[in-house]
Symmetry: C3
Subunit: 134 residues, 3 copies
């Protein structure tokens, strides 16, 4: 079966949607989540300490700075803003899809694992994630 999760974002960072996914799955099978965008990602990360999400966001902001940074002067795809091409690079470095086994109606996540949309653009966005379970 398939469905779509619509997730609104308001700037770069990690947005958890584990509860929506957990509510939707049933039976035993394999869940796949696929994000229909090339400037946002899906990641599984620690859901205990919110500092982890802040640190992740700050690490990737340094690994792939905006094109206003002189170190990124070689980038050419800049007309959609200084966060555009870095967003595409982060979307290559981080997952476009996640596959998670489902057992007796429950996601096979570890104790500290949550499912996150990682937004890479500055402006608010409406993001679509397709879910497939079989």
């Amino acid at each position: 079966m398939q469905t779509r999760f619509d997730i609104a974002t308001a700037g770069p960072g990690l947005y958890e949607f584990t509860p929506q996914v957990a509510d939707w799955v049933s039976g035993t099978g394999l869940l796949t989540l696929f994000i229909c965008h090339t400037s946002a990602s899906l990641v599984i990360q620690e859901n205990a300490d919110p500092e982890v999400r802040v640190d992740l966001q700050n690490y990737f902001a340094r690994l792939v700075p905006p094109t206003t940074d002189p170190a990124m002067a070689y980038l050419t795809h800049t007309y959609e803003g200084p966060d555009d091409m870095p967003a595409h690079i982060k979307a290559a470095l981080l997952p476009t899809h996640l596959s998670i086994p489902v057992t007796d109606g429950a996601l096979a996540l570890g104790t500290w694992q949550g499912i996150y949309l990682f937004e890479h653009r500055d402006r608010p966005q409406q993001r679509q994630v397709i879910a497939h379970l079989a």
Copy 2:
């Protein structure tokens, strides 16, 4: 069902093969593409502006420079050429497989998403990608 896509490359960069994949899929299910190599990757990226592909290639060439670069002097696996170990590192950083839902015969790709083989070696290569749809 399974098939194999054979893709010839001629140096580092992104090679699109979305049309071959779109032609092959049918019905509703989950498509998985798996690349049988540790020096090339599979990525989903923007298919509109070709500058994005050039910028991606240039970013990863800087993130993982050839072993002729003094910054990479600590690498030891160098006898297959200065592009060999960096290719393995890029193959760890970027996906070996992609899973994409298929609905009524169509890939659930967003408007701007294309499927690419990302070649990391300098010399021409014959690459094999296994496709599984179920």
Copy 3:
């Protein structure tokens, strides 16, 4: 069908478990491996020259240094040790899951591909990997 692989680690690095996985699979389908942790990863890498694994480990140790490194002073999630937050970052950069087609009982791996758990923590760990085949 599903099973669980338990893998003991003793410090950062790549631990191969291809034989255990190859022994378990059968028939034709898609195998998915999912690691239930946010401080270790699953990667497919060259299984020929052990130098590749050492070089990979050293590359990622430089890309994401411990929080004792002044360059990482901006990280805040540090109370579980200098290897903790870097482990989460590596777990975002590297795969949480792998999907590999299986054909007539054999993994569709290329000649030089092996399946590895990539440990990011310093202390010994007991890691769990869920396998799903359908």
